[in-house]
Amino acid sequence: MEMFAEQLINGLTIGSFYALVAIGYTMVYGVMKLINFAHGDLFTLGSYLGYTILVIGAGWATATFGVWGGVIVAVIGAMIGIGFAGLLLEKVAYAPVYKAGRLPLVVSALGASIFISNAIMAIWGPRYQAYPQASIPTGSLVLFGDVRITYVRLVTILVSLGLMALMYYIIEKTTFGSAVRASALDKDTATLMGIDFKKIIRFVFFVGPSLGALAGVFAGLNYSRIIFNLGQTYGLKAFTASILGGIGNIPGAMIGGLLLGLMEALFEGYVSGAWKNVFVFVILIVILIIRPTGLISEKIAEKV
């Protein structure tokens, strides 16, 4: 029971990261039909930016407001910074290629991914960096018996779920959200209906990466060690999660991410750590055999 509870907490934590990153994949896919391979690297960049802020910039915040003050500054700083990095990425690597079709876009995304991860390596070095111990909040909450949850983890899960709820509200319940969904379904018609597609693109490329950056900083706080190619694993898993939920579908990405994290943690706890990724991909394949367009998506028959 304790083991189960612990794996549940682990699964929810990592699942939150997957879900937050998956939202970025799925939003970009929705409006541009592009697998944004650089998204995982923006997540890493966010993690490093948070690290740098904590190391050199957040001293005054920590001194004035305590450890959590520093964390908040780092998170917000990383989110804003990476949001703008996302906008820049779109401007430089995607906007000029957009008209050429989907495949060149994918290669451009691969190029951007290689560029960003190598830039991180050039700036922060090829070795692991550790989040400064002094900046990581300590302490934990006793849930029941011996089961504890660290405050960092608790906050990670709560903030992630809160942001997901907010995203859900924006996308599903507001006028702007319906404009985003309309653009995802049919860009041309949406544009004819007066939707400013460029604005949608800007929204998607700002919000997606900043959610990724949030996940990046929290990943650093939770596991403390970060490396330049961290985003490859997280990116691949998050992309898997968004496919699992039905790509282009934002609630699907959230559920897919959480589900993936939980499955992974439980498999790791009860069966084997080394084979967990094999397990994840086998589950993905099995689900796609049964539901070829993901868990949460309507079956759309191609019009002939």
């Binding site: 690597a93 290669v107 451009s108 691969l110 290689i114 691949l236 992309f239 080394a274 394949i285």
Partner: protein, 634 residues
């Protein structure tokens, strides 16, 4: 002068003008090729070439093989595969394990690695081959990762985990064994030369064309007799087998392999090679591989910055040349680009011969015997097609409701009805795209209910689509060559070596296509890409494609929509001409001039149900039909 009777001569004039440039291009290309081959031959003896650069040349070769292997799946068929490194790993590990455990010679392991990699791909991909684009893509990533992690976890002590397998031997041909950098350089490039010859032959055969049809439009390909599932799997099988070959060669050169050689990033690089060079372009592939390998080597002195430059270069390349560096250009190559041997050099003579001989169907006496419609009263004519109580549901919506449709021998039957009545859905039911929920479809006394589209056309029903579904980036002649595909039988081996039987089949396919293309009046556009034709001509091209399957029944979905008056008059003329050839026709049509001008019998559909079936004159005055179209008079 109508479209269909334009004289042959002015077409020929146009053709000769075009050929002059082709010839020049071809000659230049041949010279370039000879120079390049010569350069490769003397490369190891050039003064500045050290072992280091020979090894770079070797690795370019490995990536050429990998690029070619992915090009079959990604370039020719258009399937996203980001797991190619996994199959490359299978080839390498098959070689490593069998050599170190059983001491099987490396040269023998070359074909074995190919077979194992192909077999693994076939088994893993066949349950998921129906997935669409990105879903298939993530699954291939998953398969690639599963293979790499499995190798990393050292199952049964076979793969030696993260350290990998060491002590793999060199290829040994009896007395002669391959050890030095120079030898490996020649070894890999000789294999590449063989592979390229085979792939070019494959590309220029019914199999290569079938792959391209699938890439261009899956549904149109399936409806024109291409077994989509089969050809997708075949592409995966051949492509991954080739990756297995690359794995074997890589292992025998490095003598050590480890899971780190086969990461997801490796798959991404292979993907980038294909896109950099240009989809489906073999020379582009070679160039793409050269760039991917040599570029980071040139910037070696910048050590850790070289991949940074490389990433930026990929982006820049896609911004300025999104189609790749050497894209495959079909229209310029003309008929010689089809790769069919022994075509007469004079296309003028060729078309005249074919027109004089009549259609291939007429020569072989194949499908329908000429009928004399007027001599037999309509009710007694044989029913070619019969739908019995066919119902098609979409969820709760009943699109077609217990519909009986009859098409009689030698007649033109029109299916009319208001928009949204379910006419096209019924067509899709007949041609196997949406299998009927209930009811039976009988064609020539045979039950064809719910057969797949490629089987339906083989039974003799060819169709066109309401919204044109051509193969846009292929030439007109290639478009029309799709539907005779199922008449031929040459498999991959015959297509690779171009056996005489295969060549005969190719000639027949081309002749059928040429005849129909000429008949419909598009001969002068034969080497033009389908997407460049104006709308009306695209519609005609689709009819020519359907006709080229030598069908026993032709189904046309709104053939006249979007045509101007003159064009639809020509269409009427053409349809009536087809009727005298003995084709029964079924058409959906809104243009009443076309309906009244051609059809012998009209069936009216409204809200999925049949409301009338009769000869045109009586349908014209039927109150129920008028009500369906105009509403009830109050």
């Amino acid at each position: 002068m109508s479209n269909f009777t334009r004289t042959i001569t002015d077409r020929i004039n146009k053709f000769q003008g075009a050929r002059a440039t082709i010839f020049k291009n071809k000659r230049q290309r041949r010279i370039l090729l000879i120079v390049l081959i010569g350069l490769m031959l003397v490369f190891p003896f050039l003064p500045f070439v050290s072992n280091y650069w020979l090894d770079v040349g070797f690795f370019v070769g490995i990536y050429v093989l990998l690029g070619l292997s992915l090009n079959i799946v990604l370039g020719e068929v258009g399937l996203f595969n980001l797991g190619q490194a996994g199959f490359y790993a299978i080839g390498a590990y098959t070689t490593g394990i069998l050599y170190t455990q059983l001491n099987i010679p490396i040269v023998l392991l070359l074909p074995i690695s190919a077979i194992v990699a192909g077999a693994v791909a076939y088994l893993t991909v066949s349950p998921i081959i129906h997935l669409k684009g990105d879903y298939l893509c993530i699954v291939t990533i998953g398969i690639g990762e599963i293979i790499r992690i499995t190798a990393n976890n050292n199952p049964f002590g076979l793969t030696n985990g993260p350290n990998g397998i060491t002590g793999i031997g060199n290829p040994d041909f009896g007395l002669f064994s391959i050890r030095t950098s120079t030898q490996f350089f020649y070894y890999v490039w000789i294999i590449i030369a063989l592979v390229i010859v085979a792939l070019i032959n494959l590309q220029k055969s019914r199999i290569g064309r079938a792959w391209n049809y699938i890439r261009e439009d899956e549904i149109a390909a399936e409806s024109n007799g291409i077994d989509v599932r089969h050809y997708k799997l075949l592409a995966f099988l051949i492509g991954t087998a080739l990756a297995g070959v690359a794995g074997n060669i890589y292992g025998s050169k490095m003598m050590i392999i480890s899971p780190d050689n086969f990461t997801f990033m490796e798959s991404c690089l292979i993907f980038a090679i294909v896109l950099l060079g240009g989809l489906g372009s073999i020379p582009g592939n070679v160039l793409g591989a050269a760039i991917i390998v040599i570029f980071p080597e040139i910037f070696r002195e910048f050590a850790s910055y070289r991949m940074l430059f490389f990433g930026a270069a990929l982006v820049v390349m896609m911004v300025f040349r999104p189609g790749g560096i050497l894209p495959r250009r079909r229209s310029q190559a003309g008929f010689s680009g089809l790769g069919i041997a022994n075509l007469p050099t004079d296309e003028n003579q060729y078309i005249e011969n074919i027109v004089a001989q009549g259609s291939v169907a007429q020569r072989t006496g194949a499908p329908s015997q000429a009928v004399h419609p007027e001599s037999v009263p309509s009710g007694e004519k044989r029913r070619v097609l019969e739908t019995q109580q066919v119902t098609i549901n979409f969820g709760g919506l009943i699109a077609v409701n217990k519909f009986d449709l009859n098409v009689r021998e030698g007649e033109i039957t029109a299916l009319i009805g208001p928009n949204g009545a379910g006419k096209t859905t019924l067509f899709n039911g007949i041609t196997g795209i949406y299998p009927p929920t209930k009811g039976r479809i009988i064609f020539m006394d045979e039950d064809i209910t719910a057969l797949k589209p490629h089987k339906i056309i083989a039974k003799g029903i060819a169709r066109t689509f309401q919204n044109i579904r051509l193969f846009p980036s292929l030439t007109c002649i290639e478009n029309v060559m799709s539907s005779p595909h199922y008449h031929a039988t040459a498999g991959p081996w015959e297509s690779i070596v171009h056996t005489s039987r295969q060549r005969k089949e190719e000639h027949l396919i081309l002749e059928t296509a040429v005849y129909r293309l000429h008949q419909i009046g598009l001969w002068e556009y034969r080497n033009e890409l389908a997407k460049n034709l104006p709308y009306g001509k695209q519609k005609l091209l689709e009819i020519a494609r359907a006709l080229a399957s030598s069908p026993k029944l032709l189904i046309l979905d709104e053939p006249s929509s979007g045509l101007n008056d003159k064009e639809s008059e020509a269409l009427i003329e053409f349809l009536l001409k087809l009727k005298t050839e003995g084709f029964p026709l079924l058409l959906i049509e809104h243009d009443m001039n076309v309906v009244m001008g051609t059809s012998d019998r009209i069936t009216v559909m409204d809200m999925g149900s049949k409301i009338a079936e009769d000869v045109p004159s009586r349908i014209y005055n039927d109150p129920k039909v008028i009500e369906a179209y105009l509403g009830k008079e109050e």
